[in-house]
Subunit: 267 residues, 2 copies
């Protein structure tokens, strides 16, 4: 079908998905960009609508995406540039924006393979940072990412974009921290929490076997819930010449994920 | 002194420093934020003006900064909120914005201690990414960062901000890639270039001794200049389940800098 007006009720409903309130009310998300939509489709995310402007959707990648989306139950909607611009976010306008059902993954559903490396991120401040961490988790083979802490807006457009779609390919869910801790204990994950006051150097730790890496936010670190006899703490060396310039959450996650991968590949 | 109008010529000249053209013409830079300015001062950057709004500069950190700046040759300028807002960038308004002489560091001046680990970043796309890499370099004890490639705008406000001021504490300079390569060869740095098609795994490489880690941009990688018999290439494992989702430059730098630090601390 074709829609030519940005005032069309469908378009207006889709535009509301850029805000959290719209996502919560409609239980849908909005995905911008050909790669991100393709990754969502590949991961089984259910498209509802795919808005496209033909003039920007001429290359092979776009054509392939339109064909695949058309084969599913999603509705292809041809729109003029000003409608795509209304739906797109950020500076990039790729000519395709999708509306999808919000993936529902609860802690109870999360079932990484036995012996996996998983990551817990508590209190992540910016959706873009969460996206960057998910992207690194994907590359490093982290089997699942649990976002701990109340009120996390997992499918914020900035998180989707910064993840380049890894938010759909890495199993991910959000849950309150106490529930996450219970989940980890019940499944007997060994827990390694990264803290600036960690008891030992990260490089001296053993990252093999079933392991949960627990990271806090840059500004607030981890809550005290993550102190306990069954939770080891590690720190990253900080050699900065000036005052306490700690690592960004993104950089800390990259270092820890790849150190874990390095050790796990050696065995 | 006090300035109350945003139309004051000094304020207008300072506001122009947010754009590259203004920085190039005036050979000055603008620094926003109390920590960033403090780090610049500590690193010997020469302040020209410090604009402050007293209502937002009440805490110890601000007072200390104003005192230090007042002791130097920089001029303290009290302004109302709307002038600070005109000068500040981003969402954060901390009540202090400094104008400083642009630090002049050329390749010829750069003299890291013998045996150092240094980093070369070629073609970095976004000032924010450069800032994030500088921040990680500071934490990991990288002795100098050379930004290779034409036209790099080192002191872009976004680079300063994302570095949290590390851009002033880590020795940094920009130069064309061929000049950087000559510089490294003349000083007999061993060179390790990170590439997606690298010859060996990054974790199998030796990072000890005088070493230059060479990183390219996320979109374009490294130019072919960085292929040669005296340049080893390494790659980071990418286990992503979908298509070629490579690491961000920030994440790749973090992994390499900390692997180097890990090995160098062991010896």
């Amino acid at each position: 079908m074709k829609i030519t007006s940005a005032a069309n009720p469908r378009v207006k409903a889709a535009a509301k998905l850029r805000e959290r309130r719209g996502r919560d009310e409609q239980r849908r998300i909005i995905i911008d960009g050909v790669r991100e939509i393709a990754r969502a489709l590949a991961a089984g995310v259910e498209l509802v609508e795919l808005y496209y402007f033909p003039g920007l959707a001429t290359d092979h990648e776009h054509q392939h995406l339109l064909k695949r989306a058309g084969e599913g139950r999603g509705m292809l909607i041809e729109v003029p540039p000003h409608v795509i611009e209304k739906l797109a976010f950020g500076q990039r306008v790729e000519g395709v924006v999708a509306v999808a059902k919000q993936p529902q993954q609860s802690l109870a559903d999360l079932a990484p393979p036995p012996g996996s490396l998983i990551a817990v991120i508590e209190g992540v401040e910016k959706p873009g940072n969460l996206g960057a961490i998910l992207r690194t988790a994907d590359a490093a083979g982290v089997a699942a990412v649990i976002v701990a802490g109340g009120g996390t807006d997992l499918y914020n457009p900035n998180a989707i974009r910064a993840s380049l779609g890894a938010i759909f390919t890495v199993p991910v869910c959000a849950a309150p921290s106490p529930a996450v801790l219970d989940w980890l204990r019940a499944r007997q994950y060994r827990m390694l929490a990264a803290r600036v006051d960690g008891a030992s150097d990260y490089a001296a730790a053993d990252y093999r076997g079933p392991l949960a890496l627990i990271l806090g936010s840059e500004a607030h670190g981890l809550s005290d819930l993550w102190r306990g006899e069954d939770i080891a703490s590690v720190k990253l060396p900080l050699l900065g010449q000036v005052d306490s310039l700690n690592l960004s959450a993104t950089a800390a996650a990259a270092v820890l994920f790849y150190e874990a991968l390095r050790q796990r590949r050696e065995t």
